[in-house]
Symmetry: D2
Subunit: 400 residues, 4 copies
C-alpha cells in the first residue's frame, strides 16, 4: 500500500470550483445530498442552478436555496447561455445533473458541448446508444465526467478495493452483491403518485427496467469497483414479485467475471422489511471481504486460516485512498453524505487537473466515470436479454 | 399459534427406544453428534452398533464406545441377524445410519426389510432412482424414517416455519438460502487424503456433485422447510471455483417455488474465510424473516412498516413446536448438538406412535422424512441438468 | 407521541442567521464539524471568525476558510467591536465557541455582554463558580445559549428520551453510561506534544480532571438527557490507569438518580483497543433501551416479556423530535456530523424565537443549554470529591 | 502457547468414573444440565442418586431418570452407607451436588468424609465460615473438589485467559464484568411461589444476598479466571431496585485487583428486558478482550493500534486448552451444555489423577475449585460490608 498523494491539482488551483446544479429541487431526496456534499470540503461553490423542469418555478426554487436571483435560471439552455456571457473567472465551470433519468442525456450533452465538466447522478442514461454517444462526446471534449455511484465513495469500500488490488485475497472466486429495498413492497402504483413516483413508474423516463436502473446499476458498479474487473456474462431472472405489477421490481442474477469469478447479484425494491441493504462479499483464494451499508464504517476481512478482522474507518493503517476519504476520528461515524462528498472531492481534483494541466492526485482518481456508466448499461442490457431468453448466459457487451 | 401437545406416544410407551448405530466410528465428525443427540433426552438407548466398514475394527470400535461386546457387530447383516434372535423386549427397534453416502441405500434397505425404523443422515442416497425405491419401501413397510437435515431441528427455524405457515408474512415472494463453507478453499485433493476425504472426493461414493449432496441438499431443505412449499424449477451454474478441480465445489442457483416465490440458493465449500455459514432469508408481502447459523438462538423478523424484532429461543411466546425444541432458559445458548437432539426426540415419538398405534404428538411432527430426501435429490438433479444446459430453467420433478 | 411542530420561528424569520466562529482553526478536530454542521441546513451563514489565539495567524486562517478578509479577525474583542459597527442586518448575531476549555468562560462572557447568542462546545467551563456566573449572565441577558453535548443530537438518542418520557419503560431502575476511548492508552505525555495535547494535559487549561471534562460530562449528559432526571449522588473512583500518569484518565462511578434509579458511569481515555465507544443502557420497570455510538442509526428496545425491537432512524413511527432530526431515508446512514447539525438546527430556532418574539417550535427544544453545562460541572465536582473521600456517597449539588 | 497435553490420567484409567448425583430432580433447571454434561464425553456414568429432599419421592425420581431401583436412594446418608457396602469396582467414586445452596455444606461434607470426590454447584456454600471449613476438609482428605462456575468452561473464555496469561494484553488496567438477568424484574415474591423461588427467596437457604450468591459469584469468578488475579478491594452499592423488595436484586461494584487493575462489576436479576447477559471486558496496556454469553463461540480482541479480531471456537490456532474444550467444527455452535461438559471432563481427569497417582493433564487443569468458592464468598462478604458502610473501600479477605 505505497500509493501516496502527489501534488494536488486542486490545491495548486487554490480556489473552490464554480458549480451549477441541474435538478434536485423541492421534494428531491438526492438534491440536498449533492449540494451539501459538493460544498462539504469547500472544493466547490454552488453559484447557479436550474431547480425545476417548470421554468416558472425553477427560478424561485433556486433563490430559496440561496442562489443569487440572477443565477437561478429557468432552463438549462438559459443557464448555459447566460453563464457563458460572464467573465472566465466568474462563470460556472461544471454542472451537477440530478434530474430524472430521461433528462440526463440531454442535460449532460448540452453541458459538455458548452465546455462544462459534468457530474451526473446514476444511472448514466436510459439506453445503451445514449451511453455510447455520451462516452464519445466526453472523449472528444476531454472534459471531466463523474458518475455518482456513491457506494464507491465509502472509505471502507475503497479499502476493500485496495485490498483486492494488492493481491491480499488472491484470485477472486466468488462475488456476491445485493441491494434490497422495501419501498415498492406495497403496490404503490395503485395509490396516488408523488412526482417522484410518476417519473419512476414511467418506463419512458426511468428506463427499460426500474429495478435495474435504480439499484441494479449500483450493485453492479460496487462489485466491479471492489474487484477491479468486469462482468463478462450473466444468467438472469427479472420481473415483478408484487402481483399485477407491470414493471420490474426484482432481479436475480448469476454472473461470471472476466477473470473467471462466479457469484450472484440480487436486487429488489419490493422486499418488505428491508431498509436499504447494500452488501458486497468477495471470496478470493486467500480470504474474504464483506461490507454492508448498515455498518458502513467497518469492513470484515476473513483471511484463510486466520481470525476474522474488523477494519475500521479512520485506522491509520488503511490504504491512503481510504484514509483520504475519511474526515473524522475512528469511532465517530460517518455516513451517506460523506460518501457523496468523497466523490465530489475526487471530481474537484479531476476538474482542477484539466484546468491546471496537471496530473490528478492518484488519491483522488478512484471515482466512477462515464465509462462505468456505459458498462452499467451494458450490464442491464445483458441481464434483461438473458431473462427474456430463459436464463441463457448472455455476454455483457455492446449490442451494435 | 394454537397447536398444543396431545398425549405423547413416547410418554405412553414409557421407556427409551432401543437403537443400533451404523457408521460414525473413530474420526467421524457426525458420529458423536448422533450418539449424544440420541440419548440427550433419554428417549433412546444405544445398545448395538456397526462402527466400521472393516469388520475386524468394527467390533473393537463398538466396545470402545461402551457397547456390550456381544452387540458390537462386524457387519450390518450380522447385527440384523443376531439382534433378530433376541427377545422382542430386548432387540433393537431402530437404526441410525451415518455411513458414507453410498452406503445409505443398502443400509437403510436392509434395516427396513428387517422391520427396523430408520434414522438416516443426509443426503438420503446418491441417486434419484435409489431415493424412489427407498420411498416405496418405507411406504410399503410403514416404518418410521427420519432424515437428519438438522437445521430444521433448530427452535428458531421451527419458529420461522410457524410464522410463515400462520400467514404472518403474507405470500412469500423472495427466498434466499445460502450455505458457505471454507473447507475446500485450498486444493485439499492435491494433498494426502484423510479417510473422510477419500470417500467424499470419490463421486461413486459421495454422489454426482459433492457440493450439492453435502450442503446443497441442506440449503434446499432449510428453504422448503421454512416456506412450507416446494421448489418448482431452477436455473443453475454448478462447477469448481478452485482451479484444476474436477469435482463441484460451487453452485449458484436461481429458483422459483411452486407458489411463485423467486430467489437464490448459493452454496460452496470453497469459500476462503467462511466457517459454516448457513442462512435463510424470506421476504413475504407483509415482512421478512432471517436466520443464520452463527446466531442460532435468534430469529430476525422485520414486519413491513414496523420495527425489526429479534425473537429469542426460550421466549414463552414462541410457537409450541419451537418451545418444545428448547431445553434451557432464554439467554443460555444451545447449539448444533441440540438441533440433532430435537430431531431424535421427534423420531422417538414417530417410532413410539407406530409401536403404540397412537397418533404422534403434533409437537413432534415437524421433522424431515424420506420424502424430503427424495425432493432433495430431485432438486440436485434439476440443478445439475440446468447447469449442463446453459442455465435453462429446469423443473424439479422425477425424471422417470 | 403527539408532539407536533408549531410554526417555526426560524421559518418565520425567513433567513439564515449570521454566525461568527471562535476557535477551531487548523489542526482542530472539532472546528470543521462545527462549521459544516452550522451550514448543513442553511440555517446559519458563517460570516466572521477568530481562528487562532495567535492574532497574527487568526486572520490568515479565517481567510483560508473562506471568510472575507475584513471579517477574519485577530481577536474576539476585535470581532465584537468591529461587528458592532456594522448595520443591524449585517453584523453577526451569534458566536460558536470551540476554543480550549479555559477560554470558554471569557469568550462566552464577552459575547453575551455584547448581546450575541452563544453556542459553546463542552465542557461549559472549567470551574463550578465560572459555570454559575455564566448561568447568571445568560439569565440576565435572556440570550440563547446552547452547549454541544452532541450525543443528544442523534435521532435515536432523542427517540430514547421520548420513550422514557412517555412512560413506556415505566419507572427507571438502572442506568448505565459508558464512554471509552483509547487515545491515552499509551503514555502520550512522555512524547512530543501536539498543540491539542499541550492544552489538554495542562490542568489550568483543561480543568481539574481531564477525563471527566472531556468525556465524563458527555456520559453524564447523555444519561440525564435520556432519563429526563438528574444524578442525585455518586460514589466514585477517579485516577490514572496508565502508570506514572499525573492526570486522570479513568473514572468508575456508581450513581443514584433523584428518582431512585441506580447504576454506573464508566469513562476512560486509556482503554487500549477502544475507538470511541459511547453507550447508554436504561432498564425500567417495563423494559430496556440501549444505544451505542458505533451503531448510531439504531436503538435497541427490549420490552419486558416481549421480543427485542430494533428501532431505526428514518422510521415514520418514531417520535416527531427523532424524525425531525433525521434528514435522509431509513437505511442510508447518518453520523457524527448530523448529530451536531441537529443541535445547530435547534439553536437557530432558539435564536430566531428571541428575534421574532415567538415561542420556539417544540420539535427544536430538546437541546442542551447552559444549565446542562452547570449540572455537568456539579457532577464532576461531586465525582472528584467522592473519589478523594474514599468512595463516600456525595451529593451533586453546588458547593457554595 | 506451548502448553500441550501430557498423558491423560483418565485415559490411563481407561474407564468412566462412577458418579452419584445429589439434587436436580423434577423441576430443576440445572439438574438435566449436570447429568447430560457428566456423560457427554463418556467420562462419567451416573449410577446412583438422591433426587429429592423428600425421601419418599427421591427414589421414584431416581428410577424415572433411569437409575437402577436399588441405587435410587432416599437420602444422602443412605446413598453413602449403601454404596460403601458395594465392591470397590462397583461403588460410586464421586458425587455431583446440585441441591439448594444451604444443603451444599452438609452434602459436600458427608461425601468428603466418605472418601468421595465432589463436584458442587455454585455458590460453594452460604457463609464464609462454612467455606473455610470445607477448604480445610478438602485439603485434609486430598480429594478432588470441583465447583461449577460454568462460564469458565466456555472455550473462548479459556482462550481469553490464555491470552491474558501469555502477556498479549500487557498489564491489565480495566476489568468490567456484568451479569444481567430479568427474572426478578417483576415482583415475583408477591405471587405464588414455585419450589425454586421458595428456597431462593429464603435467605436462610439462599444466603445473605440472593443476587450476589446467584450471579455475583459468577461474575467475580469469570473476571478473576480471565485475569488470573484476585480482587483486592471493593466499593459497592447493593440493594433492591424493585420497590418494596426485601432481598437484594442489584449490586453495583467498583473494584481494584491485586495487580492494580480497576473497573466495575454490575449484576442484577431485576433488569427488565435482559435475558441472561454475562459479559467480560478486559483492557490491558496492549489491547482489549471482550466476551459475551450471547455469542459464546466468539471472542473479540482489539490489539492497540491494529484491527479488531474475532477469534472463533474451533480455530486451530487457539490455545490448546481452548481447543480441548471444543468438540465440533468451527461454525457449528456449541453452548451452555458443553460449558458444563468441559468442567466435567476436567473433573474426570482430576479424579483419575488421584486414583492413578498421576499428574493431571495440564489441558484439564483450568477448572474452578473449592478455593475459588472460598474467594467468591470473601468477595460477597466484602461487597456487602462496603455497601453497608456507605461505599467505603473494603478488602476482600477472610474476616477471622
Amino acid at each position: 500500500m505505497t500509493l501516496s498523494s502527489s501534488t494536488s491539482a486542486w490545491a495548486t488551483l487554490g480556489r473552490p470550483l464554480r458549480l451549477g446544479v441541474i435538478g434536485g429541487g423541492p421534494g428531491s431526496f438526492i438534491g440536498p445530498i449533492h449540494r451539501s456534499a459538493a460544498v462539504l470540503d469547500q472544493r466547490f461553490v454552488i453559484l447557479a442552478g436550474v431547480l425545476s423542469s417548470d421554468p416558472a418555478r425553477s427560478a424561485s426554487h433556486g433563490v430559496a436555496l440561496g442562489l443569487d436571483a440572477s443565477r437561478a435560471y429557468a432552463t438549462v439552455e438559459q443557464m448555459i447561455a447566460t453563464e457563458g456571457l460572464r467573465g472566465t473567472g466568474d462563470r460556472i465551470e461544471a454542472v451537477a445533473v440530478m434530474t430524472p433519468n430521461d433528462r440526463h442525456y440531454d442535460d449532460c450533452t448540452l453541458a459538455l458541448q458548452a465546455g462544462l465538466h459534468v457530474i451526473c447522478d446514476k444511472p448514466l442514461v436510459n439506453t445503451l446508444s445514449q451511453a455510447r454517444r455520451l462516452v464519445e462526446l466526453v472523449e472528444q471534449t476531454q472534459l471531466a465526467f463523474c458518475l455518482t455511484h456513491n457506494y464507491s465513495g465509502y472509505p471502507m469500500v475503497r479499502q476493500a478495493r485496495a485490498m483486492v488490488e494488492s493481491g491480499l485475497l488472491g484470485d477472486i472466486r466468488i462475488v456476491q452483491a445485493e441491494y434490497f429495498q422495501g419501498g415498492m413492497a406495497l403496490p404503490v402504483e395503485a395509490g396516488e403518485l408523488t412526482a417522484k413516483l410518476r417519473w419512476k413508474l414511467d418506463p419512458e423516463r426511468s428506463g427499460a427496467s426500474l429495478v435495474m436502473g435504480d439499484i441494479g446499476t449500483h450493485a453492479h458498479h460496487l462489485a466491479t469497483y471492489v474487484c477491479g474487473s468486469r462482468v463478462a456474462r450473466v444468467s438472469a431472472d427479472v420481473g415483478a414479485v408484487v402481483p399485477a405489477r407491470v414493471f420490474d421490481d426484482y432481479a436475480g442474477i448469476l454472473w461470471r467475471f472476466e477473470d473467471g469469478a462466479r457469484g450472484s447479484c440480487m436486487v429488489t425494491q419490493a422486499a418488505a422489511g428491508a431498509e436499504n441493504n447494500v452488501r458486497i462479499r468477495v471470496h478470493g483464494a486467500k480470504g474474504m471481504l464483506e461490507w454492508q451499508h448498515q455498518e458502513p464504517n467497518y469492513l470484515r476481512y476473513a483471511p484463510l486460516g486466520d481470525s476474522v478482522q474488523i477494519l475500521g474507518r479512520g485506522d491509520a493503517r488503511l490504504h491512503p485512498v481510504a484514509q483520504r476519504a475519511s474526515r473524522i476520528a475512528r469511532g465517530h461515524p460517518e455516513g451517506f453524505r460523506e460518501s457523496f462528498a468523497n466523490l465530489y472531492a475526487d471530481f474537484a481534483e479531476a476538474i482542477a487537473a484539466r484546468i491546471t494541466g496537471m496530473t490528478p492526485d492518484p488519491l483522488h482518481a478512484w471515482s466512477p466515470s462515464v465509462h462505468d456508466g456505459l458498462r452499467g448499461l451494458e450490464f442491464v442490457d445483458a441481464v434483461l436479454a438473458s431473462s427474456r431468453n430463459g436464463g441463457a448466459w448472455t455476454a455483457c457487451k455492446a449490442t451494435s
